[in-house]
């Protein structure tokens, strides 16, 4: 297990280097002059030159890249051109917001997806199966941004049940502690805050969680069907175990590896989908942070924001890989 873990971590190094190179090159090829963005339209050529020198923009590409990597290794993600605050300091609350939204979406997706898949496999070829798989099919085909807009229209505007923007009602005077608002309101022990925070979370989390929910449901169904045909399931039934235990203990446990893989992959989709969801629901996460940076030509933020999200994605995939090598020892010997 240790050698496998080490090998997987070593394989990550070229990927991380490649990723940093790609984000760096992309951002440096973006049309427009960062010096102008900082200095504004009225700047003199001398001022622009001075800014370029102070940022190292007059140096050759590879020197700039090496400096950038050197900074990254020290935990320096650059400085935002708009706020002039180091990104490493600034990005914290945005990351927490994205994390909270993503975790909520994943919880919804796993809970609904696994149970929908189980229902479907358990009652194979019944109307419940067809119904559940129809929902899953719609789920994989629906664009997350349309679903978000439909939710806003129906639940926020027509029915007025849930708020459609932001993380918390500003009138409540909420003071974040850890930036994870659900956790914060629990730590304060304030029920009103908790209720408001959760109500803000529901619509974006459901929108973001729908596609993964559908994918997980389909995977759970096929994986469960495969396991249900095994002899030990027949034995479990034969010895008179209740259907509940047969399904949730014996079958699900053995059907879980492919489901886990799908969950890992879906987390990447969630991080990508977060950009769209955060835009629709004005959710102050990293996706929105990067999106605003593109409109403002805030290069360092685009570069580091994308790199941070991609790194998180890669690390999650690493953890998922290690997790199922640990669950199923056959995997680590099977790989090259």
């Amino acid at each position: 297990m240790l050698t496998y873990t080490l090998r997987r971590i070593l394989m990550l190094i070229p990927v991380l280097i490649g990723m940093s190179l790609i984000t760096f090159s992309i951002v440096h090829a973006i049309p427009g002059d960062p010096a102008k963005t900082i200095a504004g339209d009225k700047a003199t050529p001398e001022q622009l030159q001075q800014i370029r020198e102070s940022l190292g923009l007059d140096q050759p590409f590879y020197v700039q890249y090496l400096n950038y990597v050197k900074g990254l290794l020290k935990g320096d993600l650059g400085t935002s051109l708009i706020t002039q605050v180091p990104i490493a300091e600034e990005i914290g609350p945005f990351l927490a917001a994205t994390a909270e939204l993503t975790i909520a979406a994943l919880l919804i997706a796993v809970f609904l997806g696994v149970n929908l898949g189980i229902l479907s496999a358990w009652k194979q070829n019944s109307w419940m199966d067809y119904g559940a798989m129809f929902i899953a099919l719609i789920g994989v085909s629906i664009p997350v941004f349309w679903l978000g807009l439909m939710e806003q229209w129906l639940f926020a505007q027509q029915l007025d049940w849930l708020p459609s923007y932001g993380r918390v009602d500003p009138r409540l005077g909420f003071e974040p502690l850890t930036q994870f608002y659900v956790l914060d309101s629990l730590l304060y022990g304030d029920f009103h805050w908790l209720q408001d925070v959760l109500m803000h979370l529901i619509l974006p989390a459901v929108a973001l969680g729908t596609i993964p929910m559908a994918v997980i449901a389909r995977m759970t169904r096929s994986s469960m069907l495969e396991v249900m045909r095994q002899d030990y399931i027949r034995t479990a039934r034969a010895k008179g175990l209740s259907e509940f235990w047969v399904i949730y203990k014996h079958t699900l446990k053995n059907a879980f590896i492919p489901i886990l893989t799908v969950m890992g992959l879906q987390l990447g989709l969630l991080l990508g989908g977060a950009v769209l969801t955060e835009t629709i629901f004005s959710w102050p996460g990293v996706g929105r942070y990067v999106y605003d940076a593109i409109n403002q030509r805030n290069y360092p933020v685009i570069q580091s924001g994308i790199l941070v999200l991609a790194t998180i994605f890669v690390l999650i995939n690493l953890i998922v890989d290690l997790l199922y090598a640990w669950i199923d020892p056959r995997i680590k010997y099977g790989k090259e």
């Binding site: 990927v15 629906i142 349309w146 807009l149 989709l269 991080l271 994605f313």
Partner: protein, 303 residues
């Protein structure tokens, strides 16, 4: 495996010799068509896709309006004159949606064809030659896959500048590794088949082996994945349009229409409902068709 050799079927009433030769190859095709027709969801998917393709082709014949002309009838309810209502500039939404089908299908088709060509080529080289070519290309795929797709697309469009063509390029790039990896794994298994070893034994050149023996046996999964990839590409194009990075107004692109509708959701929900429905049905069609093709061509995958 011989299914993937797509020779045109010879009609049964042709000359005797052709008939005898074709009988071996035409039969699987006939079987395939039969199992396709029996596959209910594949037929539904194909019908949806065909409907949208017909809308795209015959758009000018299907509507008396033009997609870019503003009128005074702004934000009108759906009615007999305007089936899907009108938008804030008084343009007929039904018209814009059927013209939008042209854009979405075009983007999907070009982007996915591009990813298939580049991805397959890279996958072919990686799988067939192995060694450093494989390590290099596989690492490249790893790196591209390390970014959540839409995020990389956003970054690429940010670099190239917003617009439909740049969105198309971005979508093509982010889908390359999907096809590349698939091709690589197919090549790795086909490479071990007896007919490839035989071709090598008689001294056939690598390029000829690749073109004549390996490639024709790798197309089926690529085609299935291509159909599913089409669905993803349509959503990605709409997403970029929605973020203002794809098609630009007054182009009737579905994602852009959704983004425009945001201000009027309360007043005129139809400006938001119909473009979204169009995206969903197109994507649903390609997903159903892709799933169906996979069941038919690769029964082992079927549950």
């Amino acid at each position: 495996m011989q299914f993937s050799r797509t020779k045109p079927p010879v009609p049964p009433n042709e000359t005797g010799s052709a008939n005898r030769n074709s009988s071996l190859e035409a039969k699987p095709l006939r079987d395939l068509v039969r199992s396709f027709i029996r596959h209910r969801s594949a037929v539904i998917g194909a019908s949806l896709v065909v409907i949208f393709i017909l809308c795209a082709i015959f758009a000018p014949l299907l509507t008396p309006y033009e997609f870019y002309t503003s009128t005074r009838e702004t934000l009108d309810d759906p009615s007999a004159a305007h089936w899907f209502g009108t938008d804030d500039l008084g343009r007929d939404i039904f018209t814009r949606i059927i013209y939008g089908a042209r854009i979405s299908l075009w983007v999907g088709f070009v982007a996915i064809t591009g990813s298939i060509i580049i991805g397959s080529f890279l996958g072919l080289v990686a799988g067939y030659y192995g060694k450093w070519q494989d390590s290099l290309i596989s690492r490249l795929f790893d790196i591209l896959l390390a970014f959540p797709g839409i995020l990389l697309a956003i970054a690429i469009v940010a670099m190239l500048g917003p617009g439909l063509n740049n969105a198309l390029i971005a979508i093509a790039i982010i889908n390359i590794p999907t096809f590349g990896r698939l091709m690589r794994s197919r090549v790795l298994s086909v490479k071990q088949e007896d007919f490839v070893l035989a071709a090598r034994a008689i001294g056939m050149k690598n390029s000829r082996i690749l073109w004549r023996h390996i490639l024709p046996n790798c197309w089926t999964p690529i085609m299935v994945q291509g159909t599913l990839g089409f669905a993803t590409a349509v959503i990605e194009a709409a997403a970029l349009g929605f973020l203002g990075l794809g098609a630009q107004p007054p182009q009737p692109e579905w994602g852009t229409m959704l983004s425009d509708s945001r201000e009027f959701i309360q007043l005129a929900p139809w400006t938001m409902i119909f473009p979204g429905l169009a995206i969903m049905l197109t994507v649903l069609g390609f997903n159903l068709l892709g799933d169906g093709l996979r069941d038919i061509f690769d029964p082992r995958m079927k549950q």
